[in-house]
């Protein structure tokens, strides 16, 4: 148990270290009283629901016995149902493809943008913050705008592609089984760029200017400077925002639900939309909970990866 330096200092310098002190008791009680409301809240509305979800995934719950009546234990039956459902397999695969490709593209683009906007040129600061406005816009709104941009009849994307001669007949991006998921991946890249860009910029700003000057004196070109100065120092930030982006993208629901609801014919179904449908449209509470717990296990793995990444970063720093 670590001791709070403030308390040790108090007891060492200002208060008799031995004996009972009302003041100290009051002080330590106050600390707990300050934390208590938040802990009670999180216990009741965050920890308990997670346990509830876990229990739910081993029970047979439908609308009929959701609030009243017996809830029989069914062991792993819900998980078996979930795994046996061919939609689960395809949704899991889509989730992986969606997450990995969106994050990979997003990182490459954001890194290129960060290297550009980290330079000091007039307007760089304003431009940096303009990207962040994308972060303030609700995903529902962005998704709605992209639905129109990608619309087959009046979408701008088709017009541009047609004008460039890349397309002879209109493409119905979001209602084409082969194109819905790739289109959503590109929209997700747009959604994710502000977060990654801001993080990478904060990492780049932290690199001491002297290192570049020294490298320039040694005659290092742009690529050598990136390879031997920027990249090694940016890598911890890069790794951390990569893992965080993986987590956010893997659990994201809003974009896919607004744009396609997982369709057409499940072509863009991901695990969160599958779980939502199971619970709130098909009322298969146990199966939905089972799917969500599987999502949770994946996210937990990613979170451990994140903690390991940042731990190593701190150790190296």
């Amino acid at each position: 148990m670590r001791t709070d330096p403030l308390v040790t200092r108090w007891s060492g310098e200002l208060l008799p270290a031995t004996g009972f002190s009302w003041w100290r008791l009051r002080r330590s009680l106050t600390g707990y009283l300050f934390v208590l409301p938040a802990v009670v809240f999180l216990g009741a509305l965050l920890a308990y629901p997670l346990v509830f979800n876990l229990v739910l995934s081993f029970q047979d719950r439908t609308l009929g016995n959701l609030f009243h009546g017996a809830t029989p234990w069914v062991g792993f039956a819900n998980y078996e149902t979930a795994f046996a459902d061919p939609q689960f397999g395809s949704a899991a695969w889509h989730s992986v493809v969606f997450t990995v490709s969106a994050v990979a593209l997003q990182l490459v683009i954001a890194l290129a943008l960060a290297l550009l906007y980290a330079k000091s040129f007039p307007g760089a600061k304003v431009m940096r913050s303009l990207y962040l406005t994308g972060y303030a816009i609700p995903i529902v709104v962005s998704a709605q705008v992209f639905r129109w941009l990608l619309d087959g009849r009046s979408g701008l994307v088709n017009w541009v592609l047609g004008g460039l001669g890349l397309e002879s007949s209109p493409t119905y991006w979001l209602s084409d089984t082969g194109l819905a998921l790739p289109a959503l991946i590109l929209v997700q890249v747009w959604l994710g760029i502000p977060f990654t860009l801001v993080n990478l910029l904060s990492g780049l700003v932290g690199i001491p200017r002297e290192l570049y000057e020294a490298a320039a004196i040694d005659g290092a070109g742009p690529w050598t400077r990136f390879r031997y100065v920027t990249w090694p120092l940016l890598r911890p930030t890069f790794a951390a925002s990569a893992v965080l982006s993986l987590i956010f993208t893997f659990k994201s629901f809003d974009l896919v639900w607004i744009a396609t609801q997982g369709g057409p014919a499940g072509a863009s179904d991901i695990l969160p939309t599958l779980a939502y449908r199971s619970v709130f449209l098909e009322f298969l509470f146990g199966k939905g909970a089972a799917v969500l717990n599987i999502v949770f296990v994946v996210l937990f793995g990613l979170a451990v990866l994140y903690l390991l990444t940042t731990r190593r970063e701190e150790a190296e720093a």
Partner: protein, 272 residues
Amino acid sequence: MTRRLPFVVGLVLVAAYLFPVYWMITASFKSDADIRAVPPQLIPLAPTPATWTSRIFGDPRVLHYVLNSAIVATGTMILSVALAAPAAYALARHRIRGRSVILFFCLSSLMFPSIMLATPLFVIFSRLHLTDSYLGLILADTTLALPYAIVLLRPTFATIPRELVEAATIDGCSPVRTFLQVALPLAKPGVATVAVLSFLWGWGDLVFALTLATDDSKRLVTTGLWGFFGANTSDWSGAMAFSTVGMAVPLVVFLLSQRFVVSGVTSGGLKG
């Protein structure tokens, strides 16, 4: 010369990035025929407020949804700050048993999908008659805003000079007064960050609004947008006008508080 090239490239790229936003706003001022015009009108040739007067200002539900969203987002902001600030202060400055457990739990909650909380909260809130209520939505949104707020605020309180807190205590300030009158004012930038991010979170939430408030009287802008312009819409002008409404409030909040938000985003982000 070398400074002009990055400027031009940077400007072109940021314009391209924000183009969808521009396209959305201009579309709301186009007539239905102009929306479908070939070639598309980059600048509306005959801008008309028709969509705004009929679909936005002419439909009382829109204002109702905006007020609902404002209530839920403000409530989430107040509740998150009210619970997180004292907790973060105590976790930074008091000896709390289980501190690392609390912090680990808060940190790991960054990965909980809201859809995962929606099922149990739906069952719990149904029993407590909290579905279709502002309070239910505020509580649900706070579940994920609060841990993030604690993680973000704790370092802010930890950087307050000890001497200030000690001096207040020696002067006979009670711990509560020390917190409210000494620590809290000094942590203002951090508190502002947390307040803005919880507001944006409450405003943008779709999952809880979709699952916990199905009644039209408690519908929010996000679910309203989805309800009006669902899967089969072709009223793009109306959809873009409503989208502009959904964007306007968070954007204004964001622009007014930008310097606070950047630091918040870099320490983990809270979205989706």
